[in-house]
């Protein structure tokens, strides 16, 4: 319910922003259009109506999945965006899984032995990693692997090799946060009574950690991971632009620099719905992990 309200608010803000941005009629007409042409287009598309009426009809179309025509490509904006979605999805999911695979085991190991050398090493990497801007990380990866060693392509999104550097660049930035949360969760849970009981029963340490501790330890991680996944699926504008990947992040950048509001609106609303859906999913996963939360 709240999700729908949030999406409505995002829609209003997006509409206001993109309409303040440019005169859509002159954008469609192009640079060489006369004042008469622009006026004709304005009446044709209904840009001469008051703003609230434009918003009402825009919102109505949007609910039906129609975001209007892309000014640049002269076809439905939603088609333009959907066409670019697979690349971003692949990139986002790869990066997300990569981040989880690195962060959770590292967090568990660090959390089981707080203040050991491996814990300090992991925390040190987290502090350093968090300070490296991800677009610079991507550029340096390009310098090393594409320019000097020449084993990975510089740009594009045609083959799997194109996805290696971008997904690493996208993933590493999420690792420190996820690792710290897992670590804190494990430290917390390992001191609890039921873990002591499990130990007293003589269960194997691996079973205690993986079956009993992890389930509770990753509770705080789930909601943060959901937000991270939403950000990754929303397409990283910077990473996609650097590698010229045909995803929605790069599309967003193109559409903003070449003034194509319907496409920008469609992207913002799709990304916002990812966020709303994923936070909802996180609540459900948490309720499944921790039955105590279901009562609330």
């Amino acid at each position: 319910m709240v999700g729908i309200l949030v999406l409505m608010a995002v829609a209003v803000i997006t509409f206001a922003l993109t309409n303040a941005a440019i005169d859509p009629a002159s954008a469609i007409a192009g640079d060489s259009a006369s004042a008469q042409d622009i006026q004709t287009i304005r009446e044709l598309y209904g840009f001469d109506r008051p703003l609230y009426m434009q918003f009402a009809s825009w919102a109505q179309d949007m609910v039906a999945g129609d975001f209007g025509q892309s000014y640049r490509q002269r076809r439905p904006a939603i088609d333009v965006v959907l066409e670019r979605l697979p690349v971003t999805m692949t990139l986002g999911l790869t990066a997300f899984l990569l981040a989880l695979v690195v962060a959770i085991p590292l967090g568990i190991v660090a959390g089981l032995r707080p203040n050991s050398w491996i814990d300090r090493l992991a925390l040190g990497f987290a502090v350093l990693g968090q300070a490296i801007p991800n677009f610079w990380f991507a550029l340096m990866g390009m310098v090393i692997f594409s320019v000097n060693l020449q084993i990975l392509p510089v740009s594009g999104s045609e083959s799997w090799q194109n996805f290696v550097l971008p997904s690493i660049a996208l993933a590493y930035y999420a690792v420190p946060t996820m690792m710290r949360l897992t670590r804190a969760g494990i430290i917390d849970v390992m001191q609890s009574d039921y873990i002591r009981t499990a130990r007293a029963k003589g269960l194997r340490p691996a079973k205690i950690v993986l079956k009993h501790a992890l389930r509770n330890a990753i509770l705080p991680l789930v909601s943060v991971a959901a937000v991270q996944l939403g950000m990754m699926l929303g397409g990283s504008v910077v990473i996609e632009t650097i590698f010229a990947m045909q995803g929605i992040g790069y599309l967003a950048w193109e559409s903003i620099t070449m003034s194509d509001p319907p496409v920008v609106q469609a992207i913002v609303l799709i990304v916002a719905s990812f966020y709303v859906l994923l936070t909802f999913a996180a609540d459900i996963i948490n309720a499944w992990l921790d039955p105590r939360l279901r009562a609330r």
Partner: protein
Amino acid sequence: MTLTGTTLEDKLTAVNRRRSVVSRYLGHRSLMIGAGGLSLLLLLAIFAPLVTWHDPYLQDLANRRIPPIWHAWFYGNDKAVWTHLLGTDPLGRDYFTRLVYGARISLFVGFSVVLISSIIGTTLGILAGYFGGRIDTFISFIVTTRLAMPVVLVALAVVAIFDGSLQVVILVLGFLLWDRFAVVMRSVTLQVKSQEYVAAAKAVGCSNLRIIMTEIMPNIANSLIIVASIEMAVAILYEASLSFLGLGVQPPLPSWGLMLAEARPEIFFAAWMITLPGIALFMLVLFINLLGDGIRDVTAPGGRA
């Protein structure tokens, strides 16, 4: 434990406590590294004209793409000279000078954005936490809406409308990055509100405004500083990303993100042009994070997540 502790003992523990707070700050290694490094960068930025005699905007087309001095040592490149310690960019501007002046932009963006966003976020957070009820629900709704909007996309769109400039970038980021302030200040206010001294102040008949200003504010200051350090680092990175994409600070200003964008075409010939601004950004963000982590460790040892 006796109820009638001697005053001398009380005084001694008070002195010890104060001394231990100072020594906790001084004894915390990462906090001292962060504070030291950040002050060094601040001094470099403030006294930039004294640190370097070059003009960050002066183009010298006869001396373009001079490599940094270590290229003379390791690669025997005789173009590298001491007068251009870190070389020159494709327009012949001294790279070290531009990096030093770039620190001014990053730090200015960091401080101004945090100033704006902390005022917005803290106000919302305190209101939500202190009054609760419908106000809390409404403010939580605003926060969720803000979180659902992708920062980079919205910032890019706004900058595209008003044309990129330092002021626009600062305003946009300031109005976007207040969410963490609101969330953290709300939960801290909730904790403080349930303390007895707040109940006492209420019983005495203090107004809400007075309670917020004299009882709540001093007790949430630590969390405010910690969140401010996180958001400052975030703001600096966002400014660099926006400028890198060409929709942030505009040329010829020496923003580190812009320098990275200008160095991108040089990737095949002069990769050091990409390396250096990144290292500068990395160090600044690292020092701010270390400082913030350190303050959190010292003030709230249990609150590490």
